[in-house]
């Protein structure tokens, strides 16, 4: 294929149709179509929902819009999130995408430092996949926020807030990862030799800072004891992200490297299998210890009450099944493709469920138990329950599906232009 060379990077001369109309992009478009539907729904609900207050009711008597707004207030879904459960599927998916993507990036950076040759050869592809997942996470969170007021993040910043720290974090993180990918792709070997180690150490510093800020975001919510009593939350985020990352990396390896690596492919899988096993054991041990420290009100809801079903499914998918599939292969003393793929898919599903339990679980114990006498209800006709769980609306589910389209599209475009998935010696 004909190529351009800009700043030491070879760029494939690919046609418009070749870039945007191929099988992978079509899959991305199908997923993005769900996302666009979700965006349409959320914009409609957020900016065009008929709402009214007492002033409207008094000033515009007889108005059909006010009548419809009052009808919506009584019989409608009640606008955006409920006060009992402010962070929902958006945050779940944001966490899943960003943490897993960062996990891949962090893991590959550490592999470079540890001189794991097989992961060094495939680093560009993995880093690009990680970056694409970060984009997917940011896509999700973009539609959770009211973007029309985002200028206030710059005009009146609260620099101590975990939420605000996300802004400088990703303004630094994303260009930095891009630069790392640049170094992997460039033919300017002199530059790479000079700064590779410095970049590697800075990269690790930024990765650790990222997980620290993510943990701060949750830890500042002092009333949500699930989040504040998780011991060493940044470490938990790092370990669980590494596990989630190995799940995605195994699946990606089959798609990108099976034919390219040939005999080395088994080595790549063995390396990923070893990493997955280590992180399964670490995460399982961590969870077992963590629930000794987590506030008993939250721990009870998650382990024995409303979230027990989800929690044990998470344990099954994220820990038990992949562990079994990995151990069976070790007994067979060979790589078993079916077991590897099943383990990978199981980890992917399980780690998504883990984020779901973490976010919804934080909301699970009712803040409305203000007097210490139990869950309060707001209306005579409500049913008193012992925990909170609110099913995500269709718009959120669609945006989450769309975010997977963003990941695929971002990765595929970058791969078409820069051949990031090509195995490189360096």
């Amino acid at each position: 294929m004909e190529k351009f060379n800009i700043a030491g990077i070879e760029i494939n001369k690919v046609s418009f149709f070749g870039l945007f109309f191929n099988k992978t992009m079509l899959l991305a478009y199908v997923l993005l179509a769900f996302g666009i539907f979700g965006i349409y729904e959320i914009i409609l609900e957020r900016y065009f929902l008929l709402t009214a207050n007492a002033f409207d009711a008094g000033l515009h008597q007889g108005s059909r819009d006010v009548a419809l707004a009052m009808r919506e207030a009584i019989f409608g879904p009640g606008g955006e999130v409920k006060r009992e459960s402010p962070w929902t599927l958006y945050i779940v998916n944001y966490m899943y995408m960003i943490y897993t993507g960062s996990g891949i990036i962090f893991l590959v950076t550490l592999a470079e430092l540890a001189n794991l040759e097989i992961l060094k050869k495939t680093a560009a592809g993995f880093l690009t996949l990680g970056l694409a997942m970060v984009f997917g996470g940011l896509f999700t969170i973009m539609f959770d926020l009211n973007m029309l007021n985002m200028q206030w993040m710059l005009i009146t910043p609260n620099i101590g807030s975990g939420m605000w720290l996300m802004l400088p974090l990703y303004l630094i993180y994303i260009p930095f990862v891009m630069f790392e990918i640049y170094l992997l792709l460039t033919d300017n070997k002199e530059l790479v030799k000079k700064i590779a180690f410095v970049i590697l150490f800075i990269g690790i510093g930024i990765d650790i800072a990222e997980y620290y800020i993510q943990a701060k975001l949750f830890d500042m919510n002092t009333a949500r004891h699930l989040w504040t009593t998780y011991p060493i939350l940044p470490l938990y985020f790092i370990l669980s992200s590494f596990l989630a990352a190995t799940g995605v990396m195994i699946l990606y390896s089959y798609i990108a490297y099976k034919d390219q690596l040939k005999s080395d492919f088994e080595l790549l899988l063995k390396t990923l299998r070893r990493l997955a096993l280590i992180f399964i054991i670490l995460v399982a041990s961590y969870e077992a210890v963590a629930f000794l420290f987590i506030d008993k009100k939250w721990a009870t809801v998650i382990l024995f009450e409303g979230f027990a079903y989800q929690f044990y499914l998470y344990a099954l998918f994220s820990i038990a099944l992949p562990f079994l599939f990995m151990i069976l292969q070790l007994i067979q003393r060979k790589i078993n493709t079916a077991f590897m793929l099943l383990a990978s898919l199981s980890i992917i599903i399980g780690s998504f469920m883990e984020r779901y339990i973490f976010v919804y679980g934080g909301n699970a114990y009712p803040m409305s138990d203000r007097f210490g006498t139990g869950f309060q209800k707001y209306s005579e006709y409500d049913v008193i329950s012992s925990f909170i769980h609110i099913t995500p609306p269709v718009s959120e589910i669609c945006i989450v599906i769309g975010s997977f389209g963003v990941v695929i599209a971002a990765y595929k475009i970058l791969d078409s232009l820069f051949s990031v998935s090509k195995v490189r010696e360096h």
Partner: protein, 224 residues
């Protein structure tokens, strides 16, 4: 000034006049979940006899409010008198403050696409010279009493000196400023207050107020 409120919750009859008055006075969005103030209720059965508690509540205007700390744009801030206020124009709807609030006191106002909460009627009444909030003014059983904690001779401090009281979720360390008066009826008290609740006198709680106020009062702004 350090605005606060005492609630004689035993007198609440769940007429919800306070909820209506709040919506009317402050232009709160219509809808069951869209409330700045509310009357929560719990039910239990004691040897087959039903017992229902009514808990009138709203934002506690905590002196050490976590919702202010988590807000990325300073849309949530301390106003004059230690009131916790939301500037809706600055709200990016991250909902971090809703997660940080130990009392579920905040909700999303769909009309302004921003988080909203009780202001103790500061903008609509108190800054205009009124001395009561709408919810206090309308209550038929005089549950609420709004006042200034710095005014030792004022009705609020005098009441708190006379009656024992408790605050909600004291262990969260936010030093809330809704003071629930300990019921005069012991049977009612036993059935409506959790076992872990600390019952205070003015002398036992005043040092907590002073400590939290000295920590946070530098952040109080006078914007109106």
């Amino acid at each position: 000034m350090n605005f606060a409120m005492a609630l004689d919750y035993q007198s609440c009859i769940n007429c919800k006049a306070c909820e209506v008055a709040c919506k009317e006075e402050n232009g709160v969005q219509l809808g069951a979940d869209k409330q700045r103030i509310w009357v929560g209720q719990t039910e239990k059965s004691i040897f087959g006899n039903p017992f229902v508690n009514y808990y009138p509540s709203q934002c506690n205007h905590c002196i050490d409010a976590p919702c202010v700390d988590v807000c990325p744009t300073q849309a949530s801030y301390f106003n004059d008198g230690g009131l916790v206020i939301v500037d809706k124009d600055k709200c990016i709807l991250c909902k971090g403050c809703m997660e940080a609030c130990p009392y579920d006191a905040r909700y999303v106002d769909d009309k302004y696409v921003a988080v909203d909460k009780c202001t103790f009627c500061y903008d609509t009444r108190i800054s205009q010279g009124e001395v009561t909030t709408a919810c206090q003014a309308t209550c038929p059983t005089k549950v609420r009493l709004f006042g200034d904690l710095d005014d030792e001779e004022g009705d609020l401090v005098q009441l708190l000196k006379k009656r024992k009281f408790f605050v909600l979720k004291e262990t969260e360390g936010t030093v809330p400023k809704l003071f629930y008066l300990f019921p005069e009826d012991q049977h009612f008290a036993i059935n409506s207050i959790g076992e872990d609740t600390t019952i205070h006198t003015w002398d036992s709680f005043k040092p907590l107020i002073d400590e939290a106020t000295s920590k946070r009062s530098k952040q109080w702004k006078n914007l109106i």
